[in-house]
Structure formats: C-alpha cells, structure tokens
C-alpha cells in the first residue's frame, strides 16, 4: 500500500471546479502587491482529492481501528456524538467576535463546563483558553510568577520538576523565564523528599507535578511535598495529564495544588486528531484565581458575559486570539454530560482496573514491571532492560512487533528514567478481550525475542512502510516536495540533523 503525493496526482490546469467561485471579477489591487507565480498547490479533481486522502487515512492506526495503549496519552474512545453535536451549524458558524447577545447558547456550555471542572478538581475558578496541556502549564507557571511579582517577591524564579516529568514541564518553566531544578525520584517511584527539601528556598517559585506520576504510581507523600513547597513560599502546579487515574477519587486542590491544567483531549475523550488539537484548561485555587488568563465566562442576571482584562486586572492576559480551542471545549462538555456524575466517578475505577489487570498478566507472563510492588495507576511501566541485554531485542523492537499484530505500541522510552521501558495505558474504554489479546501478543513477542531475534528486528512488515531511516531524515532534510523541473535547487539537503 502506497500512495503518491497529491502533487504527483495532479495535472496543470486540473481543478475541483465546484469548489470555488465560477467567475472572477477584475480587482483593483495595485500590481506591486501581487504575486508573480502561483503557489505550488495541487491541481487535482475532487475525486483525486477524495481518493487520495481516503487512502492516506487508511494508512493510519487510530483508536477507531486499533487498540492504542499509549501511556500518558489516554487514548480512550472518542464518542461520535460529541463530534456531531459540536459541529452543529450554530456552533461551527458562530464567529468568535459575535456579540454576547447572539452567543448565549455557546456561553452557557462554557459556563457549565467551568463549573463542572471546579467540582471535579476542587479549584475555585477555571479559564478555558489554553489550547493544550503545554499552554495550560505556561498559564499556570506564568500565574505563579505573576503572583510572586505581585507580592513584590521578584526573586522567585526557580521551578522544581521531577526527573521523570514530561518534557513540557521543564520547557514551560524556561518559556516563563524560570530556571529548572530537577528533583530525584526514589526507587519506589515517589519523589525523594530529602532531595526536595534541599532544593527549596527563597528562590523557589514552585513545583510542577503530576500525580499519579509519569511512572504510573500515586505519590503517597504528596501532602508532605505540598508542605515543603508551601513552607518555602512556593506554589504547586498540578500537571493534569494523569487525571484519568484519580477522577472522582481525589481532588487536586485537596492534595495541596494551587493551580493545574487538565488535558481535555485525554481525560475527556476529545480526539487527538493525529497530533491535536487539544485543550489545557487551567484552574486555580483562591491564591491564584485572580491571575487566570482571559477571557472567562461569567453568569449574571442578564445572561452570560465575557470577563476580560478590564474585569480581571491581575490576569496574566490573553493566550489565544479568541477563546482557545472552543470546539474542543464543546466536545468535552458533551462528554461530561454523557458521563454525568456517576459516569465521571466510574472513569478512574475502570481505567485503574484495566491497568492493574494488564500489569498482573504481563507480570505473570514474565515481563519485568518497573515498580512491581506498587499499584498501577491508570498506566504502568514495563522495562525490557533484561531482554535488551540478553538478546538485543529492545523496547523499540517490541513496539514494532506489536504493530504487526494489529495493535498500536505503548509509549516507548518515556520516562527517560526507566531504561528500555514501555508505558502502558489501556484506558477504561477497552474491554477485557482486547487486553487479553494484547497480553497474548506481548507474550508471543517475548518468546520470539529469544527464538527469532531477526524477526523482531525486522518488524513491522504489515505496515505501509517498514522501519524508516530517521538518521537520513535528519541528515538529508527533505521537508517539502519540489516538482521535478525545479528539484535541482529547491530540494533541501545536508542540513545536518541532530
């Protein structure tokens, strides 16, 4: 299965004639503003385009076609109803600057979403604008900094991050002009409290944590961590990427967090779309709520209205041109209404049940669990260090071998802390049979790793391409197509990758 580029399908002069104005009136834009050459866009018929992208789509794994136990990503089923209703014409056609008087339907949904988010986190207020987890982090750390500055405490520029943290945490701290201090993890998976105590001081702005952590365990000392940070004058940021494991069990505010984001595209089933969009709504407790980004929705006697910088003067400001990823917010809102209180309380139960079930079976099958004495949260880590050493079959080989068995691979090599690891997250929407099939596949590969190393290394063979040459991709950088006639100079080569 392979498919030419859409540029290779087209022909000069061909077009999808029903899709643009049939006539072109003379325009009056002065010549100096005009482009001399048309852009390199495909010249294709509508059928060319439909067939091409339909075929490309079939080259993907996705939740709708495959089990997708990608740790830290919470690839749960994305209900179709959420999409249909979020794409009702009244929503898709609403202009972001439409007056409040013709926005009450949309604003009602957002307001209720804010309220539900408060209930399930214990936070005092939410702003829905951040467009992904990382932007939620940017908002949160920005708020922490603004808070300190607002109090005149300008020297607090250090953000503490566990060594197992997701890359967005340290990257965010840097973007906020902070210095990153890494805190170590103990052998049992919890934060090293002694190390933490040594890191804190008057320079500490705060800490970024996810709990359960990226190691798939719940940090039992969270209350002590909060005391240490708060005691040092810092604040706690909760990276809500792993909320699925504790939804309805623990409120982040109760653990001592002052500000947090939630990845709606994880916990609340909005689609990942091959990379995005997401939503990283940010919530804050009493200390920080004045600093939340704008706009937020308020409910008044006259209806819903937007609160902007003039209403919230301490706000860190605006993070998106309009209202964040509004359509994602609607999908999450619909999902929450479908789940309801009962359903939301059930999420963690079954997400955690599934993870512990797979962990138990894999353990029995002879896999090394990274934290064998701990409960799995909604995910858990397997380490293939032993296999890599004995037979040379790595976590990457396991990942590729799973593709040949019709299952997406777990997250590989993250967190960096655990060598040759697979981070496995089944999510609550997968059935026992599917997990049993996964365990069977893993077991089969484990056997193959001793009997047929070459086969493991050759995988995948059933996918549209075999293993790709990443080094070549970086070294002979080719990031856009050039038509044959121009290829000589336009093709980019030899930008050394790194």
């Amino acid at each position: 299965m392979s498919e030419p580029l859409i540029f290779e399908r087209g022909r000069p002069g061909r077009s999808a004639g029903a899709q643009f104005p049939r006539h072109e009136a003379p325009h009056e834009i002065p010549a100096q503003f005009l482009r001399s050459e048309p852009p390199l866009l495909p010249e294709a018929s509508e059928l060319d385009v439909v067939r091409h992208y339909t075929r490309l789509s079939q080259m993907n794994f996705s939740i709708d076609t495959h089990f997708y136990p990608l740790g830290s990503c919470t690839m749960k089923y994305n209900p179709r109803g959420c999409n249909s209703f979020a794409m009702l014409p009244g929503f898709t056609q609403r202009h972001p600057l439409a007056p409040e008087s013709s926005s009450q339907g949309f604003m009602a949904c957002l307001f209720e979403l804010q309220e539900m988010l408060k209930s399930m986190t214990g936070m005092s207020a939410f702003s829905l604008t951040p467009m992904a987890g990382a932007q939620g982090e940017l908002a949160g750390v920005g708020m922490i900094r603004a808070y300190h500055v607002d109090r005149g405490d300008v020297g607090r520029t250090e953000i503490i991050v566990p060594d197992a943290a997701h890359g967005t945490n340290p990257a965010t701290a840097t973007m906020c002009g902070c210095t990153v201090k890494e805190v170590a993890t103990r052998a049992d998976g919890d934060v090293d409290l002694d190390a933490l105590r040594e890191l804190v001081g008057p320079q500490t702005a705060g800490i970024m944590l996810t709990n359960p952590s990226t190691l798939g365990v719940f940090d039992r000392s969270i209350k002590i961590i909060a005391e240490i940070i708060h005691g040092a004058g810092g604040l706690l940021y909760y990276d809500g990427a792993n909320l699925n494991a504790i939804l309805g069990k623990v409120l982040p505010a109760e653990m001592g967090f002052d500000v947090m984001h939630i990845n709606l595209h994880k916990t609340f089933a909005t689609p990942h779309g091959g990379g995005g969009p997401g939503s990283g709504v940010v919530g804050a407790g009493e200390t920080l709520k004045a600093f939340l980004p704008v706009p937020v929705v308020d409910s008044t006697a006259e209806g819903f209205r937007w609160l902007d910088q003039s209403d919230l003067p301490k706000s860190i400001g605006r993070l998106s041109a309009f209202m964040g990823n509004a359509g994602v917010l609607l999908r999450a809102y619909i999902y929450m209404r479908l789940l309801g209180r009962e359903g939301i309380e059930r999420v963690a139960d079954y997400a955690v049940l599934n993870a512990n079930y797979v962990m138990a079976l894999l353990s029995k099958a002879g896999f090394d669990i990274a934290f064998p004495d701990r409960r799995a949260s909604h995910e858990f880590l397997v380490t293939l260090k032993r296999q890599a050493k004995s037979s040379g079959v790595t976590a990457m080989d396991f990942a590729k071998a799973l593709l040949d068995r019709g299952m997406h691979a777990p997250t590989t090599y993250f967190p960096l802390l655990v060598p040759e690891c697979l981070l496995i997250e089944p999510t609550e929407t997968e059935s026992k049979e599917t997990m049993d099939e996964f365990v069977a596949a893993m077991t089969e590969i484990l056997a193959e790793a001793t009997t047929d190393v070459a086969k493991c290394k050759a995988a995948p063979v059933t996918t549209p391409v075999r293993r790709l040459d990443d080094v070549r991709a970086a070294r002979q950088l080719d990031v856009r197509y050039s038509p044959p006639e121009t290829r000589g100079n336009a093709q980019i080569t030899n930008v050394a990758g790194d």
Binding site: I6, R14, A16, P21, H27, R35, S36, P39, L40, L41, E46, L56, M59, S62, I63, T65, P89, Q93, R94, H95, L97, A98, S101, G105, F106, C109, K118, G133, Q135, P170, A171, T172, T174, M175, G248, V250, G275, P277, I316, A321, M323, G324, N325, G327, L339, I344, L353, N354, A360, E428, T429, P460, P464, R466, R467, L468, D469, D470, V479, Y481
Partner: protein, 458 residues
Amino acid sequence: MPFIPHTDHDTQLMLQAIGVDAIESLFDEIPEELRCGSLVDIPAAVSEYEVGRLMRRQADKDRVELNFLGAGAYEHHIPAAVWELTTRGEFYSAYTPYQAEASQGTLQVIYEYQTMMASLTGQDISNASLYDGASALAEAVLMAVRVERASKSKRVLIPQSVHPHYAAVAKAITASQGIELVQVPYDPSTGRTDLEALRTHAGTDITAVVIPQPNVFGVLEQADEIAAWAADQGALGIALVNPTSLGLLRPPGEWGRDGVPIVCGEGQPLGVPLSSGGPYFGFLTCREALVRQLPGRLVGRTLDTEGKRGFTLTLQAREQHIRRSRATSNICTNQGLMVTAATIYMSLLGPQGLRRVAVESHTKTRALAAAAAQLDGVEPAFTAPYFHEVVLRLPVRASAVIEGMRRQGILAGVALSSWYPALADCLLVCATETKTAEDIHTYVQALGQQIEAAGGAR
C-alpha cells in the same frame, strides 16, 4: 455504563487475576484523608439523545443569517469533502505520529501541508502547526530572538496595526523572557504603519520587526519598505499574513530586497470553520538556515529498510520531549486535525481556486464599501488599498448600530472603539466570496436604517 465495556463478570475475572476483592482496593495507596466524596455538583448522566437535543437548542440560539465579521476569523466556503474526510476515524482518533510506520497517513498529510505552506509564503520550511495565529506570532517573536542572538536588546517592533489580540498574546507569552514589544503607530489617514515613526527607531538595536499584511484594518502595508528597512537595521522581519491573501498577493519570501525570513499567521481561512475561535491553527514558515530555531513538529521524507519512500517526524531534538528545558518551545500537542482539513482544502482549491477566493473576497468587500458610501455620512476611514476588510467611518458611534443590525439577523462588523478609542465611529467590515450582491444590499439597507435609528442621517 456508557463507554465502559465491562460486564460484572469481566470485572470479577479481572479482580481475581489481580488478586484483589474490589476495585476500591486498587486505590489503597492513596492516603485516606485525600479521598473525596461523590461529585454531587455535577449533573446526572444524560443519553446521547438528550444531550443532542440540549446542544441543538443551544446552537440554535446563536445562529445568525448574515455574518460580516472578520478581524482574524473569516467565513469562507468549506467544501463538504473537507470535513467528511477530516473526521474519518483514522485521522480523527489517531495520536501524534510517533510510530511512523503506523502513521503514514498523517505524516504524508503533514508533508504535503508543509510543501503547500512553504510555497504559499515563499519560504523553505514550514512546521506542522502551532496553536493559532496569535500564539504563532508569539513563537515567531521568540524564534527571532533566538536567531538574532547578536541583538542584545530583545526589542521587537510591532505595529499598532497588528490585531490587538495578537499583540496581547505575544506580550503575555513573551514578556517573562525579557522581550520588549515596542508599538509603532499607524498613519490615521492611510491606515498603514507610519514609516516616519518606524524610522525613528533606526540604529537602536532592533531584534525584529513584525510586518502584518494585510493589517488588522484590512489595509495593505508597505511591506516592501518595512522589510527593506528592517534588513537595513539588521533586524529580522517577521511577516504576519492571511493565507487566503497569498493566493493573490506577493509572498513574504519576496518582500523588500531579500524577502522576510520568518512568516506566521492564522490558518483558519483554509478550510476551518469559524467555531467560536477554535480550534484553528497557527502556521510558521522560515528560511532553511533558521530551521534549528523553528518550534513545533516537522515531518521529513526518508526511506525504509527496503528503500521505499516514507515519512517520519524529524529534527525532534528541537522539541521538548528531547531537549526539555532547552527546547525551542514547550509545544507538544498541536493542531494536527486542522492541518489535515487545511491540506484537503488547499488540494481542492488549488492555485486557481485560492486566487479566486482571494479576488472575490476583495471585490465583494469593495462592492460593500462602495454601496455603503452611498449612505449619508458613511465613508471608508482609510485611503490605502485593502484586501478583504474595510474600515467604514459612520456618522454615529459604530457600537450603536451593532445590536440593531443583529436583531435584523446581521453581524455588522467590529466596532473598533474598544481597540482604538480614536476610531469610535469606525466599523471593521468583511465580505468574503460567500456574500452575494443581494447580501450586500441587505447589509447596506440595514446599516442605513440603524444609523438613522441611532440618530445619524440616512
């Protein structure tokens, strides 16, 4: 249980396999005092039917007949095929294409997208998207500062004619890194950036200059002059452009003497519905030499072990998951699905279609402006040529006509007073190719009535 497949029997078998009695036991590592009670404030579950009815009611409340709002979000025809294809489960419910062999569909789409955006903007390289146009501007500023390390000032000139929300976002995102965004006023008669005012910054260690084209008023800036001046100053030019316009207008890669090396903007006009402001997508393209400082994902073409062409994420060492605190940006999840839509949109329109959309959007707005100018006291506020938005000066406060026109089913435009107090009588209006002569007539009639109602002449 909606979305949870477990039968009681399944659950029992699973608990047995784990070796616990009840699901509750799986949470026994969580300190008891942290456990919360039931989420009583969250409403009870509803069925898909019920939520559908609710959402239909809410959506219907916000429907309007005719929308003449632009200002950063534009109503264009979106071919039906775009979203029928984009929402196919294989695109919609896939994750980031880290497992390249299982993601060739998404990867090839992005590679095609990169090609189109690079050509549209006249650059070498396009990333795989950022969140939206405003945050793309912020990232472009950060990128420019990283590129232009020689410039110590971290001062970036940003015309007042940049969309105020964009300027606000750029400020919120870049402020804590010690970057100073310096405003450059616009000429109140032409609506363009005041070149005199710009030139007062000559020789002051400017890191970069933002060049909006068209600017927030729809007006075409003297992009060549600004680009050339920036180059003279050793400052990086950052173009902020509307992608539809590039079907017709000269790409930033050709501005001034040598072109502008960083281009950003809002991708929404390329097949993404208005949707209350999002999800949209930001685009960012640049010259080849700058690729190491480019934030966001990048897809490269390579070969598989059998020599077959394939696609994969590349130069990931720029990104947070590899470089962590030293990454070019913290961005991880981007706006992939919107890029899929935009790629399909551009494939369906092609060079001819995109040009037509640009030209027709322009001529429709001109027709509206001409018709509106027949009303007493109504005139274009600026003299410079514009693309597909126009600022109309009214004989009354602009905000006074908005609500009345809304009641007639028309979103009249943006009253500029809250952004530019000096333009309190100005309305920013946009007609795209979606508006017919009759629509424009309806608009102008309603505008006349509301001006009269607000006490202005007819």
